[in-house]
Amino acid sequence: MAETREVIIVGGGHNGLVAAFYLAKAGFKPLVLERRAQVGGAAITEEFHPGFRCSTLAHNTGPLRADVVRDMQLEQHGLKLTTPDVSTVSLLPDGRALVLYSDAKKAAQEIAQWSQKDAASYADFGAALGKIGKVIGEALLLTPPNIDSPNSGDLWGMLKTGRSIRNLGKKDLYRVLRWGPMAAADLVAEFFDTEPLRATIAARGIFGTFLGPWSAGSALVLMLRAAADPSPAGSVQFPAGGAGAITLAMAAAAKQAGAEIRTGADVAEIRVKDGVATGVVLTSGEEISARAVVSNADPKRTLMSLVDPAHLTPDFVQKIKNYRCMGTVAKINLAISALPEFTALKAKGNGNLLRGRIQISPEIDYLERAFDESKYGNFSRNPYIEITFPSLSDPSLAPAGQHVMSIYMQYAPYKLKDSDWESQRTALGETVVKTIAQYAPNLPRTILRHQIITPKDLEETYGLTGGHIFHGELALDQFFTMRPLLDWARYKTPIERLYLCGSGTHPGTGLTGGSGANAAREIAKALKK
């Protein structure tokens, strides 16, 4: 006889754990089923070489939503976040480097060495992002309204956001309306003359997406990220213990609140009877029934594979098929015997400057060319790269004096033309090391071990359909009331008592916990009825 649970959460990624916490608090004893041996989804720390542990996928917070950190008491559960003095170092091929500091004033002083005008604009841009971001941030807290028949809560939310938008004043109001559909490259050019500054900020609008800096809508991605973090190039926050420490703290908080977590529990199917979700079947054959099933998996995986699409209308299946979910990011982790010596940083002192994020995004054209290749099914030969050294914020991640280097590489399109990722894996790793070696010639000699994670690995090992790190493209047509689909943006699905809580729901984006928290609120409401 199968056991019956109140709520099952499929997948223990950060949003699944956040949802588990809030649902436990609301009195539903959720059972989280995680396929892998550890919870965390894309926010994990794993040993990939004896003695070397790295943030396997995500290496920076989204940042986490403040209310989530507070409600879950993540600090009491062991989360220790540090914000380095340096936020971003942008390397140039001519041996120079643009250094951005977490402190806005200090950043402006550095930018003044490139352009006095840009230093002033940096403060203006940051202030505008702050004001606009606050308003967008309010919308990110909302459950997207029901467009056909908004209820009183929807109207209240829209009214409140509408009022905040009006209160922005004319100048920023026009900016909100105008910026979203723009190309990030156009937007930054309105503020800045210095090319590496333009590119370094615009890079925020393309990260994780199938967009180049000249693509319309890349400014929306930049604004969405700025809503969580108004610092122009994005701030950095590293957890001691790597990204996995975030989800370990979340799991501890969820358990304390009353959730149960089972790892190594691979859900093969979400059972549906007469249009209602009734439970899950594990690959082991074990069946667990439940009053409600919440999926932290992406919308495509949930509705096209975990649920038998026969339970959905052909029209809905067509829409979910068209949901855009093609990843562009690869991840390379290196175990290194010594820190790379970046030519551009020698004069400035290498050490402290490596504590933030190091970017290879020297000019807009460089990024656009990197994107061009991916459009035609090739990975970028001169990629956009973001590097962090988790072992600098937490030396226990590597043996004494040695380090781990965590690298996002873009663009690595999920679909390769006339090739497959297994045969391109080595070439991808070589391209990344060769690219970085142009800026730090000693790097190849220090490498003890490569871990190369292709978009295909993201799909197969970590369950991200299409290898998309955000569970689906962040774009105007897949955003807010249209995330994942128009009419289905309120964490519900056409299957009764089957809900979504992952990054494929509003607000999506990175490691913020926003989707999980919003979803739990709606699910608790629905289940209490």
């Binding site: 004319k170 026009y174 309306l177 105008r178 910026w179 979203g180 559909p181 723009m182 319309a216």
Partner: protein, 164 residues
Amino acid sequence: MADQQLDVLVICGSLRKGSYNAALARTLPSLAPPGKHILSCFVQYAPYKLAPGLDWDTEKEKFGDNVVNTIAEYAPNIKDIILHRQVVTPLDLERTWGLTEGNIFQGELSLEQLFFLRPVAGWAQFRSPIKNLYMCGSATHPGGGIMGAPGRLAALEILKDGAA
């Protein structure tokens, strides 16, 4: 034979319009001597700003050759029947026809420059910050090609203001 002859080949490079769009002017025979024709084609992409070291005045004829060569892949006799060729570059569009930066719609038709944002937020009602100065071109709502809508809408607004 004569029927195949083109009197004038007009090549108009512009930034925003369907790619090689060649059309024989058969509908208005008065445009060319009997039996001869005019071929007009919009060519995309011809960016107003060329890469450093290049300029439209020196690239103009090379650009024209490139277009003819491209058409010749589909209509091999094209080169033999050209009597005269006119190439209009984005720079010509600006200098001769007054289209700033050679944009044929007086400004990009993109979401952030449409409707109440055309041409700019706050000045999308055909008025300008200068009193009694109005705009009625394609840079105003709804923009677009030859349809007259901006002109008509502008006239209605101007009449409302009673500026006479």
